[in-house]
Symmetry: C2
Subunit: 667 residues, 2 copies
């Protein structure tokens, strides 16, 4: 391979073994081998997957057709591999999902994501055993393709307000699904437009004249042979979006559509043949699927951010612009501290969030075990944690990817860089599966509850610091260490929650209702929930690093330690107003933090390319003119431009029709 000299030079001077880090990121040597094996299978079908006109030049409709074509191929590869590897075993479901999501070859998503990310998990958590036996094997083999329809045109956040109805008719033992208004049309479900033939539909369950709130139903949408929409169903796609145009998001409306009684998912609640409603043991049990999806989103966000930083970092090593010193050759832009400031935090964030999400995942599995044993104690904590982690991770990764995109200057605006599409996916994650502001307010509600019960409640692990910090807090001597900063953040979080609670109390005293006071304090409540989340991420990152680093070689340990420090320093400086307001940090301390941050950037500089190489994203998945492994940036930009159909002709027909008459004054 003919590699750009500057990039090769970076690789030559890297201080650690890149493969060692790759294997750590993958989760072990075998995982890396497994991944590389699938990559080989994908590359074997290179022409069909990556040939033809680049997707960016296609029309909306052509993009969808391309999506189906390529994703069917990928799905087949992953399916075959998984079958061989573990005989269809569902225990490592997240692995399957992660593998599938990692190998999405379109930069605008895949129409099969929803099937694996929502349809199957919801089925697993809400269908009873008999229903699972009936449906799961077919779904798992993709004999049917499912979607999950909850959100309506008029309802997203407030699911209690959903308008679609499912009314039980005891005479025929059927439910009648109906969409009474325009706003009740389901809107957004991925794959629903023209891909899925089945769908889990969330609707208000009515029986014996009573509404029992929202429940999930399995509904056939299209004929299995002809794919024609079934009678009474109006289905289509919702149109062009900012990104993820290959997801095939759809709408669906029901005109008194009848489905059998057993199409209500009955693991928790049931409707008997005579229409009697049997309540769920615990309405919170459905939280499981939500937590699951949110953890997956965190992993997926890391996945996309690692693409963005790989591209931006390699480009920064190849791009030469301006002189650091007069009369010297132009320097690599990665040598500018302002550039390092934009990029290295992105690298650190990938590791911080991945370690945090892994720990959350483990906790999730523990709690699932406890749930089966009837112990619901940690469910609220887990839910609160998943909410704020989803919100903070998606917001951070979106901001850092956009920062990386801008750090590539104009070229980062080219779709051939892959950056706009990557940013658009991360942007979407900030609102889907729970709007970030709403999620942070849910975490805040949990924190306020904990705060109010601080003296009496048994504190679960992630909020235990609230009590310990309270007894120490503001008067603690500030320490400019990672541990000191974490302690500082704990104090900040504790004080912010405390301040929100007093602020609400004051407002209630002055005559506001509880709800008004909550609303008037909500900007501060969001900030408090974010602070709590920062505590969790930074301390998890630090703890996990300490735990795993003993297995690292000294060289890798050194560079990973720098990343932990960089991450902590970055957030300390970013949230300095909190530290100044709520802890004993001094001006001199802040100046030292700034200087240490700048020194850490410099210390990481020689290993930057090695660090992104370790993400080991193959060119065919990265699909970036700026970020390819060989660094042939300018050649690739030109090659991609020449693929534009506009460039196939020297003069476009619009010249004769419109431009020439204009220029010759003949319009």
């Amino acid at each position: 391979m003919n590699v750009n000299k500057d990039l090769q030079n970076e690789r030559n001077k890297c201080s650690f073994n890149v493969r060692e880090l790759t294997e750590f990121i993958d989760g072990g040597k075998n995982r890396t081998l497994e991944r590389k094996h699938i990559e080989k299978l994908i590359l074997a079908q290179k022409d069909e997957l990556f040939g033809g006109t680049p997707e960016d030049y296609l029309s909306h409709k052509e993009k969808y057709e391309r999506a189906i074509q390529t994703n069917v191929i990928i799905l087949k590869i992953v399916q075959d591999f998984m079958r061989d590897a573990n005989g269809g075993d569902l225990t490592n479901y997240r692995d399957v999902l992660t593998t599938l999501l990692n190998f999405v070859v379109s930069r605008e998503g895949t129409p099969f994501a929803l099937h694996f990310m929502m349809f199957l998990p919801v089925f697993l958590s809400q269908a009873d055993e008999e229903q699972q036996m009936e449906w799961l094997p077919r779904a798992w083999n993709c004999n049917i393709i499912g979607s999950y329809a909850q959100t309506e045109l008029g309802h997203g956040t407030f699911i209690r307000g959903l308008e679609t109805t499912a009314t039980y008719d005891a005479a025929t033992k059927e439910f009648v699904l109906h969409s009474p208004t325009v706003t009740s049309y389901k809107w957004w479900p991925g794959a629903l437009g023209h891909t899925a033939n089945y769908c889990v539909v969330v609707a208000q369950l009515h029986t014996k004249g009573q509404c029992h709130g929202i429940h999930s139903f399995i509904v056939q949408v299209r004929d299995e042979e002809t794919h024609m929409p079934l009678a009474g169903i109006r289905v289509g796609e919702i149109g062009a979006k900012m990104g993820l145009n290959m997801i095939n998001n759809g709408f669906i409306g029901f005109n008194h559509v009848r489905i059998p009684r057993r199409h209500l998912l009955m693991k928790h609640a049931q409707v008997l043949e005579d229409g009697t409603y049997v309540k769920s043991r615990n309405s919170k049990l459905n939280y499981g699927a939500m937590v699951f999806v949110r953890v997956v989103i965190v992993f997926d966000s890391v996945n996309y951010l690692s693409k963005a930083v790989t591209i931006a970092t390699r480009f920064a090593a190849v791009r030469r612009q301006s002189q650091l010193k007069a009369n010297e050759p132009e320097c690599q832009i990665i040598d500018f501290l302002t550039q390092q400031h934009k990029l290295f935090i992105g690298i650190a964030t990938c590791h911080a969030l991945k370690m945090t999400a892994t720990k959350l995942w483990d906790t999730f599995n523990e709690v699932q075990q406890q749930l089966r044993g009837g112990n619901l104690e940690r469910l609220p904590e887990l839910h609160a944690l998943a909410c704020c982690l989803k919100a903070v991770s998606t917001a951070d990764t979106a901001a850092l990817a956009e920062g990386g995109r801008r750090a590539c200057g104009g070229h980062g605006y080219m779709r051939s860089s892959g950056l706009p599409q990557t940013c658009a996916v991360l942007d979407a994650a900030c609102t889907f599966e729970g709007d970030n502001t709403v999620l942070l307010l849910q975490t805040a509600r949990f924190l306020v509850k904990v705060w109010r019960g601080l003296d009496t409640l048994k504190l679960t692990p992630t909020v235990a610091y609230l009590r310990t910090t309270l007894t120490e807090g503001f008067n603690d001597k500030w320490e400019n260490t990672v541990e000191g900063i974490i302690k500082g953040f704990q104090t900040v979080s504790m004080r912010k929650i405390s301040e929100c609670v007093s602020c609400m109390a004051k407002r209630i005293m002055s005559g506001m209702s509880q709800e008004e006071a909550w609303n008037m304090t909500s900007v501060q409540l969001v900030a408090a929930a974010e602070s709590h989340c920062r505590v969790i991420i930074i301390s998890y990152f630090h703890e996990e690093f300490v735990k795993v680093s003993s297995s690292f070689s000294p060289a890798l340990r050194r560079v990973m330690k720098l990343l932990v420090e960089l991450y902590t320093l970055y957030w300390a400086l970013d949230k300095l107003q909190d530290l100044l307001k709520y802890t004993s940090i001094s001006r001199t301390d802040t100046e030292q933090l700034q200087e240490r941050y700048e020194d850490t950037l410099n210390a990481l500089r020689p290993d930057a390319v090695g660090l992104v190489d370790a993400f080991d994203i193959m060119d065919e998945i990265l699909q970036s003119t700026l970020g390819a492994y060989d660094g042939r940036v300018y050649e690739r930009l030109m090659e991609e431009a020449l693929k534009s159909p506009l460039n196939a002709e020297p003069v476009n027909r619009s010249f004769h029709q419109y431009l020439k008459p204009l220029m010759q004054g003949k319009l």
Copy 2:
């Protein structure tokens, strides 16, 4: 018109006269009438301009063809109107430009923007009188369409490094233009792909064996009759971008292309027939065009932000979601404080930046006068000001528009909302015409120079505060008023510059070179330049408001005063870490600021819709399902979705080709 009830209700309770504010924003009653007249002319051609398949569903090539078709119509309308209105007078050039830019009916820009925004202004500022006589009338009438080619594949920021050469051949009295490398290809010029037939090209001027640095040349690119590229020229478009896909950005390479000597723009420097180079009187005179373009960018950014906040605010009034109190109907989401927090600062920012830009524009004209008289005193200040204002305005408007987009939840991700395209334009502005980080460092360089000469230099108006604040500064009693906050920001800016200078001095003492010390301090220097810019914007906004408010009715004065306060409070809270670090503000003060901010949001709540209505952007320009004047949000979303060509058939052909074989296990 059938207007959404909630929206109508908002309009009924608006406390001020919307038309009064509209006329203020337009710059007077007559301007409003003028604008409405052009709008009528545009609406008269509604079918041709807005009919057919929505642009979001078209292929890249079809988009370009649509762009030429619609923009030729618009251009003709604006041209005719301008000719009638002022007989082709150039004195109000910015008006022409603003009018043109305001009426871009595509959400992805217009290929004619560069002709008016760069080609003509550069010609005006760099061509001598004879050259202007020869070229300007044809350019002004669009008999030729021009582009401006400076940036190369390998060079953006550092224009001294441009590689394209123009070598004078005294034998034939011609320049030979040449692109020696791939990286020397011009890349990015708007309209250059397939639209422009002429171009100003920036190249290294060589004569008599010597290089005299970069100069501008007028070059014919395509035949006027056939539009075919001329011999030796390789021209095309650069491919799909994140947004602005109708701009038709192009590349161009020269293979020893000969142009007459008089195609060098000779207002400042000349090459005589024998090849003698005559130097420009002052190399800084070219700054004029750059300042001009940057002011235009600020106005244009405000224009786009006002679209985004109009859409998001109207949507927030129409959308009902969740309950503020249990058992009440769902509330308008604009009632949530978190929503007000995201939106109202956007409205205030439009006014703050517009007033600042207007003042900068006036200063620019004054300084132009002084330049003609040979007085260059204020040029560096003006340049520094334009740099940081461009950087801060584009970054702020981009962030706020994106905030507004996310505040619409999932629906803000739909292209039919108009928000993704609006955000993409503002994102582009953060890197084009000077990368924001680079621009802030230029301002910082000016500030450091001023700081070092504080005792001896005569301080120009925008930096005079550095001296006065120094003598008062940190020990000043903090005041929680707009004036007090402005003073606080002045102290912050002064102290940050001072700290940067000491930090660099310390580093130099410890052995670093001047340049290394600058680089190591550059993250802080960028922050210092931003702080300076905040001082300027907030104080200009405040001063201008005080100046103009006497002509307002009391009702309008009240609401505009609230916007000034909101803007000041917002930034005080956002930059609290600076105030805490560098001023005498207390924790109690900060709590009061927070409370006043929350109260101000509430006070503005009833007028929010009126405030965005006052921007008076007609539906055909706004092009938003979420933001249309009548608030028929859900109906429009569905109507637009049904225009997707994918929805024209119930089953897409990809089902039979790929999906069915997959589902039936026959792949």
